[in-house]
């Protein structure tokens, strides 16, 4: 692809789209020139809003009927029965009586995948670490029919408040919120059947909804996230029951925050990686100076421009018996 006429010049693109140059260079290295160009163009568009219908409050059919009466146009999301894309709405979708009643949650379509992949059961103890604002937590509760138990961890007091508010609005009863540092979870005498770790990240997968991210993070920030994420995942695996399952995800596209974190943890723990049956590219085998664990290719990289949604990295790990 290094033909003179279509060669991507990172400096030119960084000027054209207002990105830090290092980001463009990394995207090219990660996904090639053509895909980078498509990603940058896609990030300038606007995503349709998506909602998750909440069966804790109302059936799919009833909620859809109520929204259609308001002339809100909905479309199905393939593979996610509870997800709907808003094609058009004459009313603000985040302030309808149905929204306030918890009949649905505004949630990105790809962020509905991790809870589905974890597949929690009604009698299980589930950990949701870094849980606020509660989109995935309430999704887990919905998939569990509001039974079983979810322990939702959130370190920030303000974010705990919004988590509590969202869970109450959605009618979630099976959740305990702890204002707690996940890195100390081992101090509590809890062992989980399954854990969802949606780790705090640099957010390079959601530039489409936060253009400030084009310039707000440095490589050093990414490495700081990587260190924190590795600590979170290390602690999480320790409180997982043998045979327990863990889904790790971020809305970052940076290999250090994804494949490298998993590689480092796999060096310490005996875990199996499950192949994910969802659309997306395989996890990277290598990036710059890093050679990743071969099983990391079973992870999925979901790129915004190919999925028409927010970018995600998702991997499912099973702790050996």
């Amino acid at each position: 692809m290094h033909k003179e006429d279509n060669y991507i010049n990172p400096y030119k693109l960084s000027e054209e789209y207002n990105y830090d140059v290092y980001m463009i260079e990394r995207f090219v290295e990660m996904m090639g020139e053509e895909e980078t160009s498509n990603l940058l163009k896609f990030n300038e568009t606007e995503l349709n809003k998506t909602i998750r219908l909440n069966t804790i409050r109302s059936s799919f059919e009833h909620t859809v009927k109520l929204l259609e009466r308001k002339r809100i146009k909905l479309e199905d999301i393939v593979g996610i029965p509870e997800g709907k894309e808003i094609i058009g709405s004459p009313v603000p979708i985040g302030a309808t009586p149905e929204y306030l009643g918890g009949y649905y949650m505004l949630q990105g379509k790809n962020s509905m995948l991790p809870s589905r992949i974890l597949a929690p059961k009604t009698d299980e103890l589930i950990g949701d670490f870094a849980a606020a604002p509660g989109g995935k937590t309430s999704h887990l509760a919905q998939l569990m029919n509001n039974e079983g138990t979810i322990i939702a961890l959130e370190i920030s007091s303000n974010r705990c408040r919004s988590l509590k508010s969202n869970l109450a609005r959605m009618g979630v009863e099976n959740t305990i919120i702890l204002q707690y540092d996940t890195r100390k979870i081992n101090e509590l005498d809890l062992r989980f059947d399954k854990i969802l770790l949606d780790a705090p990240c640099s957010g390079s997968g959601i530039i489409i909804s936060d253009h400030s991210r084009k310039q707000s993070k440095t490589l050093s920030d990414i490495l700081n996230y990587q260190k924190y994420q590795t600590e979170l995942l290390t602690e999480s695996i320790q409180v997982l029951k043998p045979g327990g399952e863990l889904v790790y995800c971020t809305c970052s596209l940076e290999p250090e925050e994804n494949e490298l974190v998993i590689t480092q943890v796999l060096e310490k723990f005996d875990c199996k990686i499950e192949e994910l049956k969802i659309q997306g590219k395989a996890g990277l085998e290598k990036f710059q100076q890093y050679n990743f664990h071969p099983d990391v290719t079973k992870a999925k990289r979901i790129y915004p421009h190919t999925s028409k949604g927010e970018g995600f990295f998702i991997i499912k790990m099973v702790k050996e018996q």
């Binding site: 009586p97 138990t149 007091s157 919004s162 109450a168």
Partner: protein
């Protein structure tokens, strides 16, 4: 980071009686049935919040209560030895109780008052000073309010008579989630 001023604990016998008495007085035995298979706990801080926990949740909550921010569903708060029913408490009671007034305006969701003219119907008679569950069109739960006039007076009042006073600063209507929730 730790929440030292807040203590999450099981309610005392007295606190539990305060809650149960108020619910029974306002919504009868059916209202109390909504608490079946749920235990009452308190988030004891600046506000004494009451929440309803299922036994399996309470069992785990006991073991980690010193780190707990919240659990179960918030149903109201205790102030000056009186229980104040809030949004989710009234939604829970609604599952058993028909003490409901149906309205045709969304203004209540903005913390505004409900007028005679806004009423579509009510399912049970009510007295002045009663608590009543409020629903909008399509039976969507809006919250709870205290009546200023009785159902009998409502039928003979001018259209601009306030029936239920709105409040922007207390969690009585679902609009509170937008105003204060986050």
């Amino acid at each position: 980071m730790s929440n030292k001023t807040v203590n999450f604990r099981k309610t005392t016998k007295t606190e539990e009686e305060i809650v149960r008495r108020e619910i029974e007085e306002q919504f009868g035995k059916k209202g109390l049935d909504s608490l079946q298979n749920r235990l009452l706990w308190m988030r004891d801080g600046k506000i004494k919040e009451i929440c309803a926990l299922r036994p399996n949740i309470a069992k785990i909550a006991k073991t980690i209560s010193h780190n707990l921010y919240f659990a179960g569903i918030p149903i109201g708060s205790i102030k000056n030895d009186k229980f104040h029913l809030e949004i989710e408490g009234s939604a829970l009671i609604r599952l058993k109780s028909k003490k409901v007034i149906h309205i045709k305006t969304d203004q209540f969701l903005y913390g505004k008052s409900i007028f005679t003219d806004n009423v579509l119907r009510f399912d049970e008679v009510f007295k002045k000073g009663d608590l009543i569950i409020i629903e909008g069109r399509n039976n969507i739960h809006y919250g709870v309010g205290e009546t200023i006039i009785s159902s009998e007076e409502l039928q003979n009042s001018p259209s601009n008579t306030v029936i239920i006073k709105g409040s922007k600063n207390t969690p009585k209507d679902r609009g509170w989630y937008l105003r204060k929730g986050n």
